[in-house]
Symmetry: C2
Subunit: 260 residues, 2 copies
């Protein structure tokens, strides 16, 4: 049986306040557990059901994490998932750093007020797929270590760095003028299929309900749009922000491959 302290610790990590205090986040399921163990992240505590523990313990005896047995009913109580898994791990929140000199040469994402945890997690997974290493999130973007975000990243949180920054200061301090394009996704920009897209710079994505904040607009050097192919009157207003991110990243990267 799990101690009351451990149950309280797990539950505290469901809120940002608790995560900040304990510097830990929750990763559930054996897929995520494996990803964490093979990453640079430090897994501290592992709560496994009996069967899972008996399979796993021999393999990981050298690892630094502490293993605990958790009963089925305890797992149901602490899990954030609708179908609780066989393992729940607590992992140290890393300190992500970046160098301006690195950002200058690469493509990175900037997220302005993305509030849905599933969307943020999916965006981190997309970035990982397309070899994008850094995401800059506005301070009112949902916390990347929220359990729902972590689950949706499917492990990509260990490979893509999500930095929380004051977006305006970040854009002000950023690389030099015309050589460093700052793209923004809009409903009325240039047709993304017909626009030359550089493979370095920033791509700014706003929230679905509010779009990109007014204060950010002056920094945008390229307004881009995914055109709709629905020519009926009553067509959808927009795409989901994670879907738009996937399509935009695909468009930026396909050029690398086509003109290789």
């Amino acid at each position: 049986m799990l101690s009351k302290n451990k149950i309280a610790l797990i539950n505290s990590l469901k809120s940002k306040k608790g995560r900040l205090k304990n510097n830990l986040f929750i990763a559930e399921g054996s897929k995520l557990f494996d990803e964490m163990l093979h990453s640079s992240f430090k897994t501290k505590f592992v709560f496994g059901k009996k069967d899972w523990l008996s399979k796993i313990e021999n393999h990981h005896e050298n690892s630094e994490c502490e293993y605990f047995h958790i009963e089925e009913n305890e797992m149901k109580k602490v899990s954030s998932l609708t179908s609780p898994q066989e393992v729940l791990a607590l992992v140290e929140i890393p300190k992500f750093k970046y160098e301006h000199s690195e950002i200058e040469k690469e493509l990175s994402l900037v997220l302005d007020r993305v509030q849905d945890p599933g969307n943020l997690g999916t965006i981190i997974r997309i970035a990982d797929w397309y070899g994008i290493k850094n995401i800059f999130c506005s301070e009112d973007t949902v916390d990347a270590f929220n359990p729902k975000v972590i689950q949706a990243t499917m492990g990509s949180i260990a490979r893509v760095k999500a930095h929380y920054v004051d977006i305006i200061s970040f854009l002000k301090n950023n690389p030099n003028g015309s050589n460093f394009p700052i793209y923004g996704s809009f409903l009325d920009g240039l047709n993304i299929y017909k626009t030359k897209l550089e493979n370095h710079g920033l791509i700014v994505l706003g929230s679905e309900s509010h779009g990109i904040s007014q204060e950010i607009l002056p920094f945008i050097s390229g307004k881009i749009t995914i055109p709709s192919f629905n020519d009926t009157l009553n067509r959808p207003e927009s795409l989901n922000v994670a879907i738009a991110t996937g399509i935009i990243c695909s468009e930026f990267r396909r050029n690398l491959m086509i003109y290789d």
Copy 2:
């Protein structure tokens, strides 16, 4: 105060069985309500909070739906949303039909065991954006009239027809050979950025965990893949199925625009 019967009716529509029995589905929020009202769907009952009703009633006095006042605490009890909205509507489930002659000329999606409601709703919204009118779902794909699917479609359910079919019979009865390509999304197919993609035919998408079923494979004439641009060893295994759908639809449609 809402009658017990009405509360029981709303709650029954959260299960597929209840929806089949009553031939109604739930649409929550004023955005979805508006979409329903301006569609060919028949809205039967509308449960609105006081303020919302007072704004709306004059505008819709000719509509055929019945309006009811719902209290804040009643809305909380019947809503499927984490943040209940000001209106919840019950809409008749339509009978979707299609003609083979129509399908032959168009691009349609085929979904094999897509089980997450958010993913299905988002795929319906993507189809709507890219002018895809028909989606063929395997019988074990989540029900398109599940409240979570409906919310994620953001109204696109009124413009894209989701047909539930026996996929194998559907593929067997489908148009003629080489002039009707059947694409499938795989992890080991042809690079989608370098493959000629026709603007008619079917695109089959499997579930994230199982891929496309074995029995469907013989029907696939074009295996396609979204290549990853992450060349590190420890890279993600796949993209979320809705993200993959967005990127694939974008690739099929961009050709129409580029070679126009």
